[in-house]
């Protein structure tokens, strides 16, 4: 790990002032940043510890029924919050399908949004990587790339964004609240992460020193609460990143879909909202044929970036199954293996 100056501001203004200097990095739990620093991928000259900033570790319920989730709320606290489980259950399901309990106890919501890709070539400083070292090339293109992007990638970068949490959040129209040198502003989560294009090193819309202070979930997302699921296919059932994941949320009017929200994870450099597929579902009858058509539309632009054509068909199936699961209804209690297609019924598994 490189040497750095450690700063622990007590106000957002102080933090932003320090972090606006080139070479600075914000530190919350550090579960991703320290990993990157140990690998030599992250080499900040100045680490700005935001864990003592006041008021960022709360979940506030807004008058309109929406939720404002402070950037420093820990993943496990968000996942086990009774209000979140009741109104935005897939947020809890996605969170609990990711990482390990130790990491969830530490990792924050803001850090989850800003976590870096787990592309092995990004992590390996001996490899060419345009995201880490602009202009150096992309060793993933000719390398081990079966888990890489199938949507929105470019010849410069085929990495994916690894977050589970972001998948339901982007479908639920989450808004990211920011504070920066120029004051506060807010942007849609859907716009936060950039697609790589020719500049994969520019990963988000954040400017120098800009700090995520909260994520806001609009109240409309709660209309889907009784039919909202997150489904995640992994190479092992626990403590693994998604090969492909999907969020599906439905609001039903008898047999007819009044509202649909869909997003995919593990397929692109951003959580991937499937708006055309949503539009095709709304007003249609909820049926396997409708779901299959929506899945086709969601992946219409997909193309393999390497040895990963299987992910396109897998994503269609995961999305269609997430829709079937959503139609069947949100379970009262999360399965023992959250978001897993292999989850056995609780208590019915083999004895210890």
């Amino acid at each position: 790990m490189n040497r750095f100056d450690y700063i622990r501001p007590t106000s957002a203004a102080e933090a932003i002032g320090a972090a606006a200097q080139p070479g600075s990095a914000y530190l919350a739990a550090g579960t991703n940043l320290l990993d990157l620093m140990k690998a030599g991928v992250g080499r900040p000259e100045r680490v700005v510890d935001i864990t003592r900033l006041p008021g960022l570790d709360r979940i506030d319920w807004l008058a309109d029924g929406g939720a404002r989730i402070g950037a420093l709320v820990r993943n496990s606290d968000l996942a086990h919050d009774a209000g979140i489980q009741c109104r935005f259950p897939a947020v809890a399901e996605a969170l609990l399908s990711g990482a390990s309990p130790q990491l969830r106890n530490a990792a924050t919501v803001g850090g989850n949004l800003l976590q870096r890709t787990r592309c092995a070539y990004f992590f390996d400083t001996a490899s060419a990587c345009n995201r880490r070292a602009p202009g150096s090339g992309c060793d993933a293109l000719q390398g081990e790339n079966r888990l890489h992007a199938i949507l929105g990638w470019s010849e410069h970068c085929i990495a994916t964004h690894p977050s589970d949490l972001c998948v339901p959040l982007v479908a639920l129209d989450a808004v990211v609240e920011l504070e920066g040198p120029g004051g506060p502003r807010e942007i849609a989560l859907e716009a936060l992460h950039r697609l790589p294009g020719a500049t994969p090193e520019r990963e988000t819309l954040l400017g120098p020193g800009e700090l995520i202070t909260a994520i806001r979930l609009p109240p409309e997302g709660a209309d889907l609460a009784s039919h909202a699921r997150y489904l995640k296919v992994r190479e092992r059932t626990s403590y693994a990143f998604a090969v492909v994941s999907a969020f599906a949320g439905l609001e039903l009017d008898g047999p007819t879909i009044r509202k649909a929200r869909l997003a995919l994870g593990g397929v692109a450099a951003r959580p991937w909202r499937a708006r055309e597929a949503e539009a095709a579902l709304e007003g249609a009858a909820a049926s396997p044929a409708t779901f299959a058509r929506a899945a086709e539309l969601a992946l219409a632009e997909a193309r393999p970036s390497g040895d990963n054509a299987f992910k396109i068909e897998l994503a269609r199936r995961v999305l269609a199954r997430a829709l079937r699961d959503a139609l069947a209804g949100t379970p009262r209690r999360l399965a023992a293996l959250p978001a897993s297609p292999f989850a056995p019924p609780t208590g019915a598994s083999h004895a210890a």
Partner: protein
């Protein structure tokens, strides 16, 4: 860069000066405070051998900067027993042979203590396995580990009932 921090470690307040902000909680415990129970396995948050409780919650000590935890309460495997009397989770690991080589065991036990305090698994072995997935055991002692945690769950639930009575 000299930094001062105060931590309560296993019930004992400690004032600690460190000369380098890069020191993780794990390195602080092992290299500066001679608390070598928490193990350095992967040092990247993947194996769980370094698991300790910080303010009552299990975390990976290898992925936390010590200086950032200024003021926290830390419990390591060394702080679990009451004198010669083992913590119920320690006793259950012995009873059920929840280890072979023992390297991952301090992390397994601290993780299990955290799991039981969180209270989301109940007596469901599938939930226990899922909520212990942050702790790897190279020897594959998972069967004994799961049994030990189930046993400790029942022991602690029984003790809580007795206390209530």
């Amino acid at each position: 860069m000299s930094l001062s921090l105060s931590l309560n470690i296993n019930g004992r307040p400690r004032a600690i000066d460190i000369d380098d902000p890069r020191i993780t909680l794990l390195d602080l415990l092992r290299e500066r405070l001679a608390l070598t129970g928490a193990k350095k396995g992967c040092d990247r948050g993947q194996c769980g051998a370094c698991t300790v409780l910080v303010d009552g919650r299990r975390i990976n000590a290898c992925l936390a900067l010590a200086v950032s935890l200024d003021g926290a309460e830390v419990t390591t495997i060394e702080g679990l027993a009451d004198g010669e009397r083992l913590h119920p989770v320690q006793a259950a690991f012995i009873r059920h042979d929840g280890f072979q080589c023992g390297f991952c065991t301090p992390g397994q036990i601290m993780s299990a203590v955290g799991l039981l305090a969180e209270g989301h698994a109940g007596a469901d072995p599938e939930r226990i396995r899922e909520l212990m997935s942050g702790n790897l055991c190279r020897c594959g002692a998972y069967r004994g580990i799961t049994q030990a945690i189930l046993d400790a769950h029942h022991a602690l639930a029984g003790a809580a009932q007795e206390d209530a009575a």
